[in-house]
Symmetry: C2
Subunit: 518 residues, 2 copies
């Protein structure tokens, strides 16, 4: 396959050379013109996305993450966007881009990340997370692998809205980048002028905790001025309807390791006598929550900031599709004691991400394991401090009778303490929320509704975590306008993108670029 970016670079005129229509069209018209353009160019757009997805993008895989950044620069420069690499030692750089619109009053920055979650290829149906596969439906719905349609001058490739592209980051978060660039191409081809200056910030270590983003942006503060930052990360509403959201949760990762004897012991000769760390860990984890999933750790909900009137109203207006979700996901009884999902994600969570001790199934060995590990994660809401949350959890573990340490126990510590837990702070950041009653907030809702429909869902805060507090601290107000399907398996195996959502995302982004105004 010929490099699609180079093809673009040759085929398209530089943006400033475009003739501009005198009166910009309304969002609905923009959406229609972008759709027309897209239907003529599906093959090219999907090829650009597939090429991008073929570059492995785990943040810690330095050579490959650099390849992603280099590829991204090519993609931006092909559109005449001025680019700057903001380097991060040992990680992928922040890729910054700028496209000035003469006489524009406002500047809008798009944020997305080009790194993806770690992968376990064995858990993927197709076994190769970085070789995009097309299916005629979701795997859960019996979707079968199909070839990418042939495209020629005589026969234009057509992609069905229900088809899905399977690959790591197909949804989280490479496709929004490609949708934005395709939206620019469409506006250019249809001679629709931009209403705003465009900036982009594409990050390469979001799934690894964005630990250098803040410092990197502060070093390049002069580049960043904007009236609004739009984050493209996350899925649309579970109903499939478009979504605008004004906040998200923070996140704290915590690793807990409980220790038994210095080595795994024969469970026959020592069982009943040697303490079992898997049992101790189970008892610890069981003590953290009540039957409704409410966290029993002292002070866990104390710092939650109350919602304002606009936020309460938006919450009340949100669709309630919990019953559908339960049915689809096979959940007989959700946690939360009867509260709705949208209410529950306005609260901090405490989630067991993973458990490991010795072996299970065919690999099980007849031992008392020497240790048991849990990966925990707390999602935070506005008002909460990540370090304080960690300390609440560590204090709780101590109160449950564990000697809490932050490194492997010494022999002396093992001999002195019946229960030992290594509790490690894996990093974290706070939640962030933009007020919903600002003129900018209302303007962005209006444009998206006009382009994508009045059924667009407006949400005070998403349950997910992206380090948007960094932008808040830099004085940038932000709003989330995600585009990908909610059932995309993001963070898990078989991540996928439903193409219908992707096409609609192009239209929404084009409407924002062409019509946002307040």
């Amino acid at each position: 396959m010929r490099n699609i970016v180079v093809t673009l670079l040759i085929a398209l005129l530089p943006y400033p050379a475009l003739a501009q229509k005198s009166t910009p069209p309304v969002p609905r018209q923009v959406a229609q013109e972008v759709r027309d353009y897209r239907m003529d160019n599906e093959d090219r757009i999907i090829r650009e996305l597939s090429e991008f997805l073929s570059i492995p993008n785990i943040a810690s895989d330095t050579p490959n993450i650099q390849k992603n950044a280099a590829h991204l620069i090519e993609m931006l420069e092909a559109r005449g966007i001025e680019t700057h690499l903001l380097p991060i030692s040992g990680r992928g750089p922040v890729v910054f881009g700028k496209l000035i619109t003469p006489e524009a009053k406002r500047t809008v920055t798009f944020y997305a990340h080009y790194d993806g979650q770690p992968v376990d290829p064995a858990a993927w149906t197709d076994g190769k997370p970085f070789e995009p596969v097309l299916r005629n439906a979701a795997i859960e719905a019996g979707g079968k692998q199909i070839p990418f349609p042939e495209n020629s001058a005589q026969h234009r490739a057509v992609y069905n809205d229900d088809w899905r592209l399977y690959a790591r980051s197909s949804s989280d978060d490479k496709s929004p980048i490609v949708a934005l660039l395709a939206a620019l191409d469409a506006l250019r081809a249809k001679k629709i002028p931009l209403a705003v200056n465009l900036k982009v910030i594409f990050e390469g270590e979001e799934e690894a905790g964005s630990s250098s983003l803040r410092r990197t942006l502060e070093l390049h503060k002069n580049l960043l001025g904007a009236d609004l930052l739009i984050t493209a990360d996350g899925p649309v509403h579970q109903s499939g309807r478009p979504l605008v959201f004004f906040g998200n949760r923070g996140d704290v990762g915590i690793d807990v390791t409980v220790y038994g004897a210095v080595r795994a012991l024969h469970s026959g000769h020592y069982g009943n006598w040697a303490p079992n760390p898997a049992t101790e860990l189970s008892q610890l984890l069981a003590s953290m929550k009540d039957a409704d999933g409410r966290v029993l750790i002292a002070g866990y909900y104390d710092d939650v900031a109350p919602l304002g009137e606009a936020e309460k109203k938006a919450l009340a207006e949100m669709p309630d599709n919990d019953a559908d979700l339960q049915r689809e996901l096979g959940i007989a009884k959700p946690e939360g004691g009867g509260k709705k999902l949208v209410e529950l994600i306005m609260q901090p969570s405490l989630n067991i991400r993973g458990l490991r001790s010795a072996y299970v199934g065919e690999q099980a060995q007849n031992v008392v394991p020497e240790k048991a590990e849990a990966s925990l994660e707390a999602r935070l809401v506005t008002g909460e401090d990540p370090k304080k949350k960690f300390e609440q959890i560590a204090a709780f573990i101590e109160k449950q009778g564990f000697f809490v340490i932050d490194q492997e126990p010494t022999m002396e510590e093992r001999r002195a303490h019946a229960r030992i837990a290594k509790v490690i702070y894996e990093g974290g950041y706070r939640a962030s929320r933009t007020p919903m009653d600002l003129p900018m907030s209302k303007a962005i809702v209006d444009v998206v509704r006009a382009a994508a429909g009045n059924n667009t869902v407006v949400m005070p805060s998403s349950g997910g975590s992206v380090p948007m507090y960094i932008f808040e601290d830099l004085g940038l107000l932000w709003v989330g306008v995600p585009i990908v399907n909610y059932d995309n398996h993001q963070h898990s195996s078989d991540e996928n993108l439903r193409l219908g959502q992707f096409w609609r995302g192009m239209e929404i982004y084009a409407a924002i670029l062409a019509d946002l105004n307040w």
Copy 2:
């Protein structure tokens, strides 16, 4: 390395051609003569063991387990032992051997197994469980890898008692087989006649549950007649002292899988709402035991058969080295509410062998996992039935609010039941115990004490499990005479054999062959 078995076959005369001394020496003298022989032949014996350990021996690895059996036949036939393969479909055969001693009154059968526990090479210090490595001490004691000593006509290789041979099955259970055959070689070389007929039963699927042993032996019952069966499996006493034991525990394996949503969900968008199967599993496991490790399942201790007077006396006389063990293993407070280890293993156990849910550490993903698994194991004592034990545990899980099934839940089941556990019976067998007041029981203790010292520990029952009930059912009384070091990491990574124990084992087995009489 030239095949050591073939070398033996050429070097040694067939057994029946040996001249026999008229009065057999006492066990202490036998031990001394065997020691003299051994010190002249350490290189050959270690080479024979190393060759045997180099053949991978997981029971389910059919081609390799067959290779082990073929190799074993060579080893036996090199000693003039008549061999029979008792085949098991898809598994390693039972290797049966017989060596008749003219005018012997008694027949003694040795049982051992030539298969080993599954391996995770990444968890082994040397990474290759089937490439034996020699170390100058245990890894825990800072032992370093050393080359196998050179051996030549001019310079005899000498192995230090503290050296250790690292490989899967170096202790459990190939080395007792090699020790027995080396003992035979020593007796033959020293012209010491056997006092008994010798039979051997070497099994190839013990670590996989011995599921075909019973049926296979019943089919060949005519071969099996004997006055005593000695099992060579298991370690000596933790004090390092020799051990004779008269029983062992039974075993039941149980896999428990708890289910969440049909797929792993983004922990931000669904955390607080989607039920977490790792939390549910933790709650279930935590509810199974009290703070002292006592099982809270109804009726769990009801069927335990009381000990007789001889057994109670032996228990009371056993050394109490729990404090040393605690110190060595880094255990501040054992389970059992203050009871001694030897008392506790006379009770049934319930052990978590392993836990698994999604991923931990660097591989952790921000998901609510879709399932969580625990591998459980109950050790049984005399009087208990494995199926009944399983049913007690399954009934308990049901009582804790789980819908208990034995296969993956259907979507309908998921929608109907808040908590679902798949509970699988992985097989099991009952405990077994030979009365300690039989003349045979006293005779075997006397021979071992005479050969290896009066500090030999005599134990009513070992904590481990070998399916000795099968022999009991076939009318064969059995006694355990293990030889390997107790800190051998059996069933875990870095399994090893301390050579001092191995040499002493040769002497004990030789004394039994030369002097057992009642």
